[in-house]
């Protein structure tokens, strides 16, 4: 099920909210949330519910053993077991075929007569998100950062919580523990009001802005070989904004839904295209993933504590793996490496860079990020290389393809103004005035009409 579908908005959400607030006890609400989340997840493919259950059970019981055991060795063993089990789940479904193809390429390169076969695997939606949450929970319990959850219902409500289940935010136990503990609170109208406001804004961002951009730029990406200088830039810039409005719209909807159920999910975007350098960008874009990578990968690798060159290597490795997390494709690896290199370069030259005019820093950061998205969006390296060549080939000024310049220019102008000058979801003051309610209602009705065109899946569902 997706948030921008009629079945979700008109059936699933009202029933879930009604049932949740109707029930009173903690356990009944944990159970209700878990059941609703399984229905939400199983609506896509019920066969994969067992994976979610397995990941939940592994982390729950490992954490229990870790917390109860007096032996440090045993604690470590169960931590490693929990991490490995989750990584096996993730690795098998997401990276098995990629690994097989990579090995096959190596064998072919050396002309070894080995033939490997791939499997017909479907990548379960959200697996990257819930396995990462399970891993962080086991680590946090091992480190003593959070108490182990003793109630399985409570823990499964946390791991399967449908607003964040399929595409984040990657909420850790520390982010949700107090709300989980106070799940039996009474329904406060302020939660519903802000929840609706944030959800509608997210729906508007996704359905009206991101999908409209997609309708204009997708044909350009499909016909990348015929693009010229301007159309290549339009394709890349269009995708840059499409991705932002799609993913931040999704995150807003998730946060709004969380609020309606009494949960404060963490912020995932903080006006990323206002960033003045690449490090700043990564503190504003997909914040919950960046902080996860920082806390569970970069810092354990040594962070910046082991000298300058090791810091650069750590940054590079972290981003490389972060890229791979997004998908089993070399383009994501290149995108990760590109961002790792940019972070390392910024760290090396930041004393000079930070002295440059702020406007230049912001523009430069945006351009570097946009160029990176070329790899992120391209199905393979040759498409990305082809597009990048066109973007920097000033001889191709005369456009070979017909483009709807008026619509795309207006849309891009709107995006530039919105991402640079408007407050983001967490900065916005959600007024209680009736005229704001009326404006929000208009946005909701428009979004519901726009949804009828095609209920586009969120870009981040594929990760």
């Amino acid at each position: 099920m997706i948030f921008n579908s009629y079945i979700f908005i008109f059936l699933f959400l009202p029933l879930t909210l009604f049932g949740f607030w109707f029930l009173r006890s903690k356990n009944s609400r944990y159970l209700w949330i878990t059941a609703a989340s399984f229905i939400f997840y199983g609506y896509w493919n019920y066969k994969f519910i067992y994976l979610l259950l397995l990941s939940t059970a592994i982390s729950f019981f490992s954490a229990k053993i870790i917390i109860k055991s007096n032996s440090q060795k045993k604690k470590k063993l169960f931590l490693i077991l929990s991490i490995i089990c989750n990584l096996i789940l993730l690795g098998f479904f997401k990276y098995f075929n990629f690994g097989v193809s990579a090995f096959q390429n190596i064998f072919d390169l050396f002309r070894w007569n080995v033939s490997l076969s791939t499997l017909n695997l479907i990548i379960p939606v959200g697996i990257s998100f819930y396995t990462f949450q399970s891993i962080s929970y086991a680590i946090d319990v091992y480190r003593g950062n959070v108490p182990a959850i003793n109630n399985f219902l409570k823990f499964s409500a946390y791991t399967s919580f449908f607003p964040k289940l399929t595409a984040g935010p990657i909420a850790r136990v520390k982010d949700m523990n107090s709300d989980l503990e106070n799940i039996n609170r009474i329904c406060e109208p302020t939660l519903i009001r802000t929840g609706i406001s944030i959800f509608v804004i997210g729906l508007f961002k996704k359905v009206i802005i991101a999908d409209s951009i997609a309708n204009l730029v997708n044909p350009l990406w499909a016909d990348y070989a015929s693009l010229g200088f301007a159309s290549a830039w339009i394709a890349v810039l269009g995708y840059t904004y499409q991705l932002y409005f799609d993913f931040s719209g999704y995150s807003d909807m998730a946060i709004g839904l969380g609020r309606m159920l009494g949960f404060n999910l963490p912020q995932n975007f903080n006006s990323p295209y206002k960033a003045v350098n690449i490090s700043d960008f990564w503190q504003r874009w997909h914040i919950t993933l960046s902080s996860w990578l920082r806390d569970y990968l970069y810092i354990p690798l040594g962070g910046s504590r082991r000298g300058v060159s090791q810091t650069y290597i750590n940054l590079f490795i972290t981003m490389l793996l972060g890229g791979l997390w997004h998908g089993a494709n070399w383009t994501f690896v290149i995108w990760g490496a590109y961002n790792g290199a940019l972070l390392a370069a910024y760290r090396a030259y930041r004393i000079y860079y930070d002295k440059l005019p702020l406007l230049f820093q912001r523009f430069n950061t945006f351009l570097l990020v946009a160029v990176g998205w070329t790899f992120f969006r391209s199905p393979n390296f040759s498409v990305a290389a082809n597009l990048l060549k066109k973007m920097f080939n000033f001889k191709m000024i005369i456009e070979p393809v017909k483009i709807d310049y008026l619509n795309i220019s207006l849309l891009l102008l709107f995006c530039i103004l919105a991402t640079n000058f408007l407050p983001n979801t967490f900065e916005w003051r959600y007024s209680t005035k009736p005229r704001f309610a009326a404006a929000l209602a208009m946005m909701a009705v428009l979004a519901l009409i726009f949804m009828n065109y095609k209920q586009n899946v969120f870009l981040y569902y594929q990760f």
Partner: protein
Amino acid sequence: MIKYILKNENLKFITVFFIFIAIFSITIFSLAVLVDPYNIFGLNIFRPILLTNRSEKMRLLREAETKPEAIILGSSRVFKMDPIKIEKMINLKTFNASVSYARPEDHLALAKYIVKDLKITPKIFIVGLNAGEFNNDKIDSQTINNPDLRKYLEINKKTRILTLLSIFKERFNAIYLRDIFVTIFWNSHGFPNPVITFDKNGGEIFDKNKHPDPNAAIITENLAYDLFKNLDELSPKRKIYFEKFLEFAKENNIEVGVVILPISPQVIKNISETTNYKKLSEELFFQMEEWANKFGIRIFNFSSVEKFDGIENDFDDSTHPSHLNIDLMTEKILKELSL
């Protein structure tokens, strides 16, 4: 209760939000029905913005000075089939009764209207079609809303309303919303010149010196894709309608020539990968052969340009052959018919 809600600003906000949702929804829905830009509901308060050539073609037929002896049926893909050319070659007064988005039910309803209501019994029906016209699209609202056509399709009131509502559900989107305002604007400020106009004999009036854009077919590939998407087999309902049409023609001793129309070769290549185009085209051909044995119809299989020595990239868009290709097909058909 109301006092309690008004006192709490959060509850007041939520109430106002849902009241406005209701107000906006009712307003937009009412506008969509009353303005009816695509003539789904057939209220005709505003002139719709799409081609409503069923009524126009039926009027031209009624007003025809001489009763036609050869009638062309089909969709907009045979708009350019020239009645004068046919007249010259086979010496039969010809009328082009092809209408937009025509499907087999339109052929049946139009044929019955022509024979029963207008008392015209032609010698031949030339029907242009392709496997895509046997898809699962809903019956066109223009057919359902036209009482002279509807009566021949045995559609009861319930089915009619449900079909219209489901067409509305499918089409009611951002573009529909825009077209509500476009319809109001054009109705108040005058319509632009019509894109397609017809001669008295039903043939399309167009500039014969104008040649299509060579990229037109590829740019409009989605039109062809939409005809075949999610289609595993020819629609059984539409096969029944077509069989009824053939039965009716046979009962009235009207000869039928079926022309299987081509789509652009570049597009065939692409949609063969994404749809069941090839399988469906074969199914149509075998079905036509079966009908040929049963009803004695003539089949002209021009599903690809080589079959009528056509011009490969001369298509007005992915599914509409250019007038040159239509002329080439017409010549081949007439040669065989006159033999």
